[in-house]
Amino acid sequence: MNPGFDIEPFLLSFRLAGITTFLLFLICVPLAWKLARSRSWFKPIIEALVSMPVVLPPTVLGFYLLILLSGRSPFGMMLKQQFDIDLVFTFEGILIASCVYSFPFMLQPLQSGIEQISDELVEASYTLGKSRFQTLFHVILPNIKPSILTGLIITFAHTVGEFGVVLMVGGSIQGETRVASIAIFEMVELMDYRTAHIYSMLLIAFSFVVLMTVYLINHHHRKTG
């Protein structure tokens, strides 16, 4: 293997983050609405479960996902036998892992945004003949734009920044699972500090721009309110 700068790990990271963000947005919007308007006893259980990735070491998550997706678990065996799908050390595998890992970063901003919307607004929409779906699209989502942006950006950035989960589930296969953070780890192991520096500085710049964008949006929203 010829060490040196290669753009591929970055493209892979952005592809992984883009698809993860898109999938999580689709999953989290209905779930956030359900949770925001629920007063059920199981709400705290769901909330605690989906927030686990925030506090768990990524290696714990990665370890169990590896076992779950591998051919040794019933789920992995079912995938292998029924659909001939092998998820370990594949892009699809780290995509699933990323979705689990970044779940709370999409769900929490959306949920707190929806919780800010008064019940009256939703009920008004119902009495004007609008279904739950129409209310979600025409009343709720347009009124939580800052939360949506925060959720999208943070999820994207968090996925780009993940390391442990991807390493456990995906390893480091060029063009398949070797994302930017893993490429850095490899460069350091190979003592190619120059390339490691370039990769690292790019990620630092990226993180700074992303976070500044989030704060600018929030600042702008507070001012125009």
């Binding site: 009256e120 008004a124 119902y126 009495t127 004007l128 009124n143």
Partner: protein, 301 residues
């Protein structure tokens, strides 16, 4: 015609009580729903709109059953709010902040002609491209009213729509409500505590107490004809009883006003500071007597 026998157990300040609404409301009138806070008025309106599910009972509007259910069972009929022809004006207006005034109306129905007509009726034609954040309270209330009428509802429910407005704006909106009621023929139910509003707007008052309709009468009967011999009478509280030479003077607080009433020694015997009293007139002189339990009084509205 609205016929309800809806029941629901509510949690009150003094424990649970049963909201029991057994009433028929004729088409086209304006009915006041009054009663102290926590007596079930808002829940009554919400059950009609389909926003709160009753425990049991029946709700029938113009021959169609909107709700039918027995206690402890899944309702046999329970139309969604979307399926009921009800317009609701919420206490907090509930205007969609990201839409203009016209946008709020067109969201309800894409009938532009009707939107323009309704905005004209509530004098908002000039402000149709403005967002709600830039409107005054009175203007917001009129947008909410016009929006609630967009789908041509048979029933219009208003939950204390005018309580946050000043007197001049209240009077304008009361006139608009009367106009809407006459021109569109919509049945109006309005939650209000304001006796002059009830008298001016409504042809019927339902007075709620602890979930029950304790009085069902006309505003005229309730406020004016209740005691034939004593038309000029106010409830107040004694703040002070003072000895002035041979007579006594009681200082009584009536609302925000303080009045002095001359009382004789016999009257003074039965009264003390802190008593609730009725101040009335007899032969042009103010008189004072102790408030009887169960007597009508405006604080029950």
């Amino acid at each position: 015609m609205v016929v309800t026998s809806l029941k629901k157990t509510l949690a009150g300040a003094q424990g649970a009580f049963l909201l029991d609404t057994d009433v028929e409301i004729a088409r086209g009138g304006i009915t006041a729903v009054a009663g102290s806070s926590g007596s079930g008025k808002t829940t009554f309106l919400r059950m009609i709109a389909g926003l709160t599910t009753p425990d049991e009972g029946c709700l029938e509007v113009d021959g169609t059953v909107w709700y039918l259910g027995e206690k402890g069972q899944k309702p046999r009929i329970n139309l969604k709010p979307q399926e009921r022809g009800v317009g609701v004006v919420f206490q907090g207006y509930a205007l969609f902040p990201h839409m203009t005034v016209l946008g709020n109306l067109l969201f309800a129905s894409r009938n532009r002609e009707r939107a323009e007509k309704l905005l004209g009726m509530v004098n908002l034609g000039q402000l149709k491209h403005v967002k709600p954040a830039n409107l005054s309270g009175g203007q917001k209330q009129r947008v909410a009213l016009a929006r609630a009428l967009m789908r041509q509802p048979g029933i219009l429910l208003l939950d204390e729509p005018l309580s946050a407005l000043d007197e001049a704006m209240k009077a304008v909106l009361q006139d608009e409500l009367i106009k809407i009621n006459r021109e569109l023929g919509v049945t109006i139910l309005i939650v209000t505590h304001d006796s002059s509003e009830i008298y001016k707007l409504c042809d019927r008052v339902l007075l709620f107490e602890e979930g029950r309709i304790v009085t069902d009468t006309s505003p005229r009967k309730l406020f004016v004809e209740r005691e034939a011999t004593q038309k000029f009478a106010f409830k107040g509280e004694i703040l002070e009883i003072r000895d002035v030479d041979a007579i006594w003077v009681a200082v009584v607080a009536i609302g925000n006003n303080l009045v002095e009433v001359v009382i004789d020694t016999d009257e003074k015997e039965g009264l003390q500071v802190g008593d609730s009293v009725i101040v009335g007139t007899k032969a042009f002189n103010p008189t004072i007597r102790k408030f009887q339990k169960g007597e009508f009084d405006y604080s029950r509205l």
